[in-house]
């Protein structure tokens, strides 16, 4: 029985990991793009982007999952995502990437804006190009500033992956619950906590390492 549960939970956990990994891969670059959009001098772009960020950050991710997965079928009568697990997975990834990109973009924006303008000016008067200033001077300082908020957000993402069960994606919590529903066995659901704890524990260690690595200077 234990082996059965373990293998079922591990399959669910794999799904959780996939959501986690793909969300990061998509949301970090998209977040950077949104961040640039929110800081651009082109007013129309800026306000549209800020409106989008406001909407996404102002509504629950659970609701966004529902709208993104069921919305196309309900509104235009065409279920974009296709039937089956695959469609649900794609919709989940899309929802998570959009949601997390918006949160990340605000962290990036805060990080970039927190670097004193004097750093850039010091680069200018030494005859450096904008690209040299960004990559050689600003970037590492921004990274140092955003590591703590990013690690918070990323550890939250580990747990947020469980929201995808609302559109019946069979991730870790779903796998645990299925034993409760079918076999009347409760403990697997609670056992999923071990997976979350272990994973966020590893992430905590990784982020602590990164913070340590960046401790050689202060901003």
């Amino acid at each position: 029985m234990f082996a059965n549960v373990l293998s079922a939970l591990s399959i669910g956990f794999l799904k959780t990991l996939e959501i986690f990994g793909l969300t990061l891969v998509g949301a970090i670059p998209l977040g950077l793009l949104i961040c640039l959009g929110a800081m651009t001098r082109i007013r129309v772009v800026k306000y549209v982007i800020r409106f989008l960020v406001w909407v996404i950050r102002g509504t629950p991710l659970m609701l966004q999952l529902l709208v993104i997965y069921y919305g196309p079928g309900l509104i235009i009568g065409d279920n974009w995502w296709g039937s089956g697990e695959h469609g649900r997975f794609i919709a989940t990834i899309v929802a998570f990437i959009i949601n997390y990109a918006c949160y990340f973009s605000e962290i990036f924006r805060g990080g970039i804006q927190s670097i004193p303008v004097g750093q850039q000016e010091a680069g200018f008067v030494l005859g450096l190009t904008k690209a040299q200033i960004f990559f050689r001077i600003t970037l590492l300082q921004v990274v140092k500033r955003i590591v703590p908020p990013m690690s918070n957000e990323i550890i939250t993402l580990v747990k947020d992956t469980s929201l995808s069960r609302i559109i019946a994606l069979q991730e870790l919590i779903w796998a645990g619950q299925s034993f409760m529903k079918s076999a009347g066995i409760i403990w697997p659901l609670f056992f999923t906590g071990i997976y979350y704890l272990a994973f966020s524990g590893i992430l905590t260690v990784v982020f602590n390492r990164i913070e340590k690595k960046l401790e050689f200077f202060r901003v």
């Binding site: 306000y47 409106f51 406001w54 529902l66 997965y69 069921y70 919305g71 196309p72 079928g73 309900l74 509104i75 235009i76 009568g77 065409d78 279920n79 995502w81 039937s83 089956g84 697990e85 469609g87 649900r88 069960r165 609302i166 559109i167 019946a168 069979q170 779903w174 619950q177 299925s178 409760m180 529903k181 079918s182 076999a183 009347g184 066995i185 409760i186 403990w187």
Partner: protein, 273 residues
Amino acid sequence: MKSKKLLSVIVGIMCMVLLAGAVSVYAGEAASDLAAIQDKGVLVVGITDFAPMDYKDENGNWIGFDAELAEAFAEIIGVDVEFQEIDWDNKILELNAGSVDCIWNGMTLTEEVAEAMECTGTYALNAQVVVMKADKLADYADAESMADLSFAVEAGSAGEAVAQEAGFEINSVQNQAAALMEVAAGTSDACVIDKTMADAMTGEGTSYADLGYAVSLSSEEYVVGFRKGSDAAAALDEKIQEWIKDGTMAEISAKYDNAVSIAEARDAAEEAE
């Protein structure tokens, strides 16, 4: 700044109106759903893991009373069958969004279901039963004696409706399994769930070995639901009547310890109506 906020509120409202409009337009559409299903070549059946109606065997294949019937029906209309686990709360959403074609999972015919779906006739019978700690069953022989107990029920379920009607103090939880867990954990004194479920999930060999039931609050009917306006419901209903009459249903039920009580066939007079 103020005018911008106002603008965003207006835009938000417009979006909602648009959405509502689109949904109502879509609901009004009435092409042949059966033909559409045959066109895409697969019947997507929305289910939950619910023994003995739909559940997985040790190889991970979907089996059960409903699962076998669904396979039979798919074969008749010449398509493959695909079982899709869904969140029971979202069954109407799933149907309307087209992510599943029917709900075939020991679904009780409620007013809400009748209103939102195109349903077949009754194919099996069910009851809502009160599950509690087995050692207390003797103290509560009828519904009247249970007035001081706290009840867990599945939100939006038939069990919730009858418990409310009986005037019980209820606490709505996410699903029937969670309701059972409430009772096992002692956070509720009793729960109201499907008899079919109670038969499968309580007693020896489950986490709920010390739970049991004695009182039924209502009897009810299982139906299969399609999208509103779907012609597939009538097509299936015809087959169901056939299966009841020729004993196919009873045969399948026998494979599952006769846990399913088959409905009686409608008589000819009723058919004519």
